[in-house]
Symmetry: C2
Subunit: 399 residues, 2 copies
């Protein structure tokens, strides 16, 4: 393998995460180690920055600032949601050729890996030596070929802590029902993380619905009523993408009273709360934590951050070693204890593919996840400290 | 003043906060210093625990556990929302008499201070020596006679951090609008705290609406459009209690298209997002952080926690000193730097009264708060670290 000398471009795609900037720092630090990378450019707002030749000069940034960026949510380079067209790949390659760009690191999810794959293929076909490596990033954790995705651990940490904290509020002021909505696209990975909030069997959330399983209003109401009767309150974790038995977004069901004529999109937790309120006559409210679920600086998982950085470094190492057309993966090592190393997967095996939560990790009743999920996810989110509670030492009267 | 020997009861009322347990710890630690307090009982679920004589024996709890409780959101004793009836005060006094309860510490907001006042009055009228002290607690910060309320600083810290973090997401992936909803009842104190997220003038949130000022759909749309044109995105902070020009909950306005037929309650941010979406054709989404705003363990303000504890201690000290019928207040000291001492206010001056955000702290345009508010609130929430951003050092082409 000959040494390939030229410029490296790094770009972000899709929704930011709490640790996408940690991957960026991994790329920057590793590139600095290799003299053949003559400059490192960060495309502003993803592939759009490539088209427009808007690049941050990442070697000209203060090192202490770069370290601080690595602890910061959002995307320091900016990102985009842009549906790439076939001619865009040619445009990308033309920009790369014109600037002697020889390394391309693209951090993103399923769609982004498709773009990376196409650019890599086009370069090969046209005889331009370019090394393209994908860096996984998604809070949805739905990329195949990797144990998990950087970004997921922190988003899971946020959601579990949020459910724990909201649960403490519900326990303190009972006779209420709370419906807490998680992101996660079509996969239940993120809503499942609510299970990490528990220590005791009856701890909140008492109900977790994953979009891999349809949910009917009757099941929801029966489940909530049973929990409420037993405990005097109920905390429910639900995914934004929950479907009903017809495969429609939950709440679009025509069996619901017509007067529930809200716009369904982006309002699921409110719809569930209203159904519970109107049908069970319980005081239910909704919490839609939304974008905070992938942005909360206070809930970065240290494991996730370190792995995100590692993935950035591994991408550069692979490219320097002559690899192209691959995505970095995380490979869980045999115990005892949790650890991961990195590997590589073909972009074609990752692009436009979606890995859902395994059905065998969902409780047969469809309203919880099983311990196998908790074992998988707990080390990714990091320790979720239980909240202290008073001992049940009550005053006993002499009389 | 004679020494009064007997049992002390402490109870919580209304919504929990991130620091109500810190006040409880202040009460417990101070009571232990005074031999005349023969036992300290914590009523389970507020005044309901008094009626039902359900008390935690707080001297029989492990001290390390008590310290841990002081760092914990929720209410360790439990709380309640119960509309007190006149006969309830007699019931309370009967329980106190039967158990030689001579000290009553009641932690809550406006309604709770009314209950405390009535119990104190009834005791005086019936010749039973009882010392009743209110401990302020509300994330809404709407109690009069005190510079601010324990609980507010942490809720403000959460909201400011949430807006900062969500703002970083919006900046990174532009061409979006985010409507972030705050709690706060009728007062704008909590939504105003979004201003603490800013460092530069154009930082998110670009728009803050306080419920002290009515909002029309036309103003909202005009404001959002102007910000979006200037910056390419917009972050809006709005209060759950925002009213329209008729004094109705915003969104209940019949001038809105009839097809917006949602239940309005508890859905304001979604309504705003939908109006922006349909009228301006912008991609708007809502975030309703809800109960997390008063429960997030990761966002406790250290100043708030220390002051909450101080208020608990001061309540016990006042009662030991012979005071009754008062609420502890926080008194801001002249600078330089921020500090507070405690004082006492008559319960009758606090009960059932509501302190709104001063109109002179709201921008004349009705879509922001003024620096005077930021000066007031910043020390309560504690330092909100700005998120690191890359320097604008772009690649300059030779050609």
């Amino acid at each position: 393998m000959s040494q390939l000398k030229g410029v490296a471009v790094v770009a972000h795609s899709g929704g930011p995460t709490q640790v996408i900037n940690a991957s960026l720092v991994g790329v920057i630090e590793e590139c600095r180690q290799h003299a053949e990378i003559t400059a490192l450019w960060g495309a502003r707002n993803g592939i759009l920055g490539v088209f427009e030749e808007q690049f941050f000069d990442l070697y000209r940034q203060d090192r202490a600032l770069i370290a601080a960026i690595g602890l910061t949510p959002g995307s320091a380079l900016g990102s985009c949601r842009y549906k790439v067209k076939p001619e865009d790949h040619e445009r990308t390659l033309a920009v790369f050729r014109a600037n002697n760009v020889r390394y391309f690191f693209y951090t993103g999810g399923n769609d982004s890996m498709d773009t990376a794959m196409n650019v890599a293929q086009l370069a090969t076909d046209s005889g331009y030596e370019l090394r393209v490596i994908g860096i996984p990033k998604t809070v949805d954790n739905d990329l195949p070929e990797t144990d998990h995705c950087p970004g997921y651990g922190s988003a899971a940490r946020f959601f579990a802590c949020a459910v724990r904290d909201i649960g403490a509020d519900l326990r303190a002021l009972p006779r209420r029902v709370s419906v807490i909505e998680a992101m996660g696209r079509n996969a239940g990975w993120l809503v499942a993380s609510a299970a990490l909030a528990r220590r005791e069997p009856d701890d909140p959330p008492q109900l977790i619905y994953c979009p891999e399983r349809p949910l009917t209003a009757d099941q929801l109401l029966g489940d909530v009523e049973a929990v409420y009767r037993r405990l005097g309150y109920a905390v429910i974790a639900v995914s934004e993408a929950q479907k009903d038995e017809k495969g429609e977004p939950f709440g679009a069901d025509h069996a619901m009273p017509d007067s529930f004529g809200w716009r369904v999109t982006g309002n699921l937790s409110h719809i569930l709360a209203t159904i519970i309120n109107s049908r069970l006559k319980l005081r239910a409210r909704s919490e839609k934590l939304g974008l905070l679920g992938r942005a909360s600086a206070a809930h970065i998982s240290e494991t996730d951050r370190q792995e995100a950085r590692l993935c950035g470094q591994a991408a550069v190492e692979a490219a320097i070693g002559g690899v192209t057309g691959k995505m970095v993966t995380l490979i869980r090592q045999p115990g005892p204890g949790y650890s991961c190393t990195t590997g590589l997967a073909d972009l074609k095996d990752v692009a436009n593919s979606e890995r859902l939560l395994p059905l065998e990790w969902i409780h047969p009743a469809g309203n919880d996840v099983l311990p196998a999920y908790v074992e998988y996810a707990a080390p990714l989110a990091g320790e979720i400290e239980p909240l202290a509670r008073l001992e049940e030492r009550l005053v006993v009267k002499a009389g």
